[in-house]
Subunit: 240 residues, 2 copies
């Protein structure tokens, strides 16, 4: 099932068991209302509190006999309006939204104008100063390829392997919206937000694009940029 | 002063005196915090509950000595984030945001996809069925020029003259967003929303573009389309 959600009102994707509203719990409740089955959904990955999705993918097992293509309308009728199911297809029993994923694309959006737009306040990070987008793209180019991203992630005790491959990494702008779009075989915790924070220091002239290879080699979290806020981040799509 | 606002949380622009939150009251309170003066602001026009603005213009008198260009940052620091002042300039004492206005531009946005996007739920009207945009543009062309719009407005006892001139009237689309952009010398109550409702009946094949001149000539509210909801409507700009 492919879904889009506005993460503003949620404490992330993953069930917390703490009474805090999450995407996973909201979906499982909707599926229960529809099927009367207790269903556990598996996301392609967690998204943190406030992070959005245009194409999150989840998988689950169910006895329900409604044809898959009829499910989106049915589930949307019981889901809150900030979560929408866009597509549903039958898959092989060994399909798993997380383990079968081959590539993921994220996008981080900036609103680069002196005064923030009220329409983007939950959907892009406000940068009121001018940015050198050409330099940011030069910096982003160094992320392409296979690297150890130890310096570009938050501590996550469960992770041992920090090597990831980045296939694509583009800075674009359309009016005041600057988008950083990145495709890779996987992402570490906060990785996109820390990459964006680092590219911002380049865009503001505080660092050079050529510093990126050195920061990758050093692998020190404290040497790279800050983690930018979650509300500019979107999980765009997952490929299998 | 030019401002943008997300109208979702407001009971329209105009002060109600009923405890309901409006744009005007929120602005006047912010100006009071800043200046300690009781200031009445005049908008270029009312916007209804839920209607947005990208370029509403207001005028007011104040004794404040802060240079006009420094006011946006100061006022934005006390305003809620769903209202942003974009620009402030000194004007002649006889300038009045409403009476001096020469042309206004509105935009109505549709989200034309089977499933609604969670990101547009407060910012565009969901139309899940296909629309014939070419026919809608043909219909919109008939609105250009000077016409009596008696049939295309809600009852407003204060209005005697229903003749308005439309300078421009365009249907555009960018992905799933269909925009109806209209510029005129003035607009009657709900006029843009009723025009959009009527163009929608054309886009769905229930009426012909050539019906528009007949509907204009007949001047009967009950013959034209429904009033579409407020959350797709934006006051784009006002010219003086």
């Amino acid at each position: 099932m492919t879904l889009a959600y506005d993460g503003t009102q949620y404490h992330g994707f993953q069930k917390q068991g703490s009474g805090l509203k999450t995407i996973q719990e909201t979906l499982e409740q909707a599926l229960f209302v529809l099927t009367q089955e207790t269903i556990t959904v598996h996301g392609s990955g967690r998204t943190d509190a406030g992070v959005h999705a245009q194409g999150q993918v989840i998988s689950f097992q169910s006895e329900i006999r409604v044809p898959a293509q009829r499910l989106p309308l049915a589930i949307n009728s019981v889901l809150p309006r900030d979560i929408r199911v866009l597509e549903c297809v039958d898959v092989e029993p060994d399909f798993h939204a997380r383990f079968t994923a081959k590539r993921k694309t994220y996008c981080y959006k900036l609103y680069n104008e002196r005064h923030m737009s009220p329409f983007w306040r939950y959907y892009a990070y406000h940068i009121p100063v001018p940015l050198d987008l050409g330099k940011m793209q030069q910096g982003a180019d160094y992320f392409r390829g296979t690297h150890d991203f130890s310096g570009f992630c938050a501590k996550d005790t469960k992770v041992r392997n920090f090597v990831r491959t980045i296939y694509d990494c583009e800075i674009d702008n359309e009016g005041p919206i600057v988008s950083f779009r990145i495709t890779g075989n996987g992402f570490l915790w906060n990785m996109v937000r820390i990459m964006m924070g680092t590219l911002l220091t380049i865009g503001k002239g505080k660092r050079l694009p050529q510093d990126i290879p050195k920061l990758l080699a050093a692998g020190e979290r404290q040497s790279v940029g800050a983690t930018v806020p979650p509300h500019g981040l979107y999980l765009v799509s997952v490929e299998y």
